[in-house]
């Protein structure tokens, strides 16, 4: 049985989302902005997903995907130079999105309210290290590439490490240019999956532990 109940949400979005509108004199151009996201936000995504999985169980994984996509759009609009703690900021944005959605919906499963209330402070804790730098990042990417199917891997390597054009790759591998694109798209998706879902059992154990502590608090 699903208990649906109208409740005035007591929690407010914690609005620390600095500078909602970007100024024309943006200090970072798009490429630099993506690099900033790649270094500061992307490495935390797996952790945030895990946190959603363990804490917000009344939402499906597909809903989590939506939240994450929305969060990227939201983070893009803020000024990276103003964000001292990107990881905490990521958590704050996701939590705010959850609250906003709950407010819009008006009717929210009771359990979710408790879940949202319980999402405070997590962003202040230091998280497990997700930032793969330099050689380590290269190592991680190589491991992911190694798991790609042969053809996909060849196309990906020619593009990423060799800088071949779509035409060159097609000629060299004897496949159509359309296939080159398709293979690159699939490689991109698989790398996305691997980079954002990479978690050891230890991390999961840690998360369920904090959840237990949190449950015990209530």
């Amino acid at each position: 049985m699903i208990v649906a109940i109208y409740v005035e949400l007591s929690c407010q979005p914690s609005y620390k989302e600095e500078l909602p509108d970007r100024t024309p004199t943006d200090p970072l151009d798009a490429a630099a902005r993506y690099r900033w996201l790649a270094v500061n936000i992307l490495p935390c995504e797996g952790e945030v997903r895990l946190w959603l999985q363990s804490r917000v169980r009344s939402l499906s994984t597909a809903d989590h995907d939506d939240l994450i996509q929305e969060a990227y759009a939201r983070i893009w609009k803020s000024d990276p130079t103003q964000i001292a703690n990107p990881r905490g900021y990521f958590y704050t944005i996701v939590r705010n999105l959850l609250i906003e959605e709950a407010r819009r919906a008006r009717i929210v499963p009771l359990e979710r309210l408790g879940e949202i209330e319980g999402l405070k402070f997590v962003s202040e804790e230091p998280g497990p290290e997700q930032h793969a730098h330099g050689r380590q990042a290269l190592e991680t990417l190589c491991k992911i590439i190694a798991t790609l199917p042969n053809k996909m891997r060849s196309v990906f390597n020619l593009r990423s490490f060799e800088g071949c054009s779509r035409k060159e790759i097609a000629e060299q591998l004897g496949i159509s240019e359309r296939t080159v694109e398709k293979q690159l798209q699939n490689a991109h998706l698989r790398i996305t999956e691997a980079l954002t879902k990479q978690h050891s059992r230890r991390d999961i154990a840690q998360h369920s532990l904090t959840r237990k502590e949190h449950d015990a608090d209530r």
């Binding site: 996509q69 990227y72 330099g134 990042a137 779509r166 060299q172 694109e181 690159l184």
Partner: protein
Amino acid sequence: MTRTGKRIEQEAAGWVVKTQLGTLTPEEQTDFQQWLATSSRHQGAWIRANTIQASIESVAALGAGVTPDAARPRISFQWRLPLAAAATLLLAVASILIYQGLGDRYTSGVGELRQVALTDGSTMLLNTATRAIVKMKPDSRDIQLDRGEALFEVAHDVSRPFLVHAGNITVKAIGTAFTVKMNDALAGEKIEVLVTQGTVEVMSPSGTARITADHHASVQPEAPPKVEAIERGEAERQLAWRSGRLEFDGQPLLEAVKEINRHSRKHVIVTDPVMAQRPIVGSFRAIDSESFAHIAAATLNAKVILDGDVIRIEPK
């Protein structure tokens, strides 16, 4: 909401690949603009896909050194694929060698903090400008601290002592929390060990000492470790860097400046010997040497001179 998130993710990846290949036709360009304007979810997915692309590109750039590049004679097409495969293999092999033989290397830049989860369940938090190499062996856990400062929270494992090597000393722990700090051991500066939990053993060529919680040891080259008890608050103060701050409680300006300069690229310089010994009290953002200089100057009735890449504090 069903599988739309995944579908949007796929579409975004498609657009990123096309944009990156530079193969968008004018019609596709229009389609893309429409797609992007549909919803903030589409925009978010596009931004996320580009972030992944940026990540791939920056990592691939590191691998460029081992793949044939423009500087070398162009290699015929039929050789490219085997070479790309060989390059990937080489990278994989190199990674394995690094992993097994040389240990995992972790570094933090100036002003950066890095939390590292070690495979044995311990954690290591690197303070600014620090380099550590981790070797997990069957009978021991070895960390080589090359420079800087790190806080270790050690998972209990009697069969595998946790050893931190810094300069000519070794700190041995089983299950505890402690920091090891070395500024410049080569220049003959002291190495400091601060224990917040449990007990560690400090082994130096001139003697061994046991340090319990809330004790601090400093090891000068060629001298036995000097151990002293510290107050709780003092340990907290010394560990303020964990939250990106530096706290001083009456330390001489010179010492505070040295600490601030570790965390910031913009260095503070104090030349006046009298002022260098004046005490500093306060909590400062570790990476903001300029604010530090202004506050310190205000309390010491001095002036701040911004001089290119350095900040001078001088008597008025």
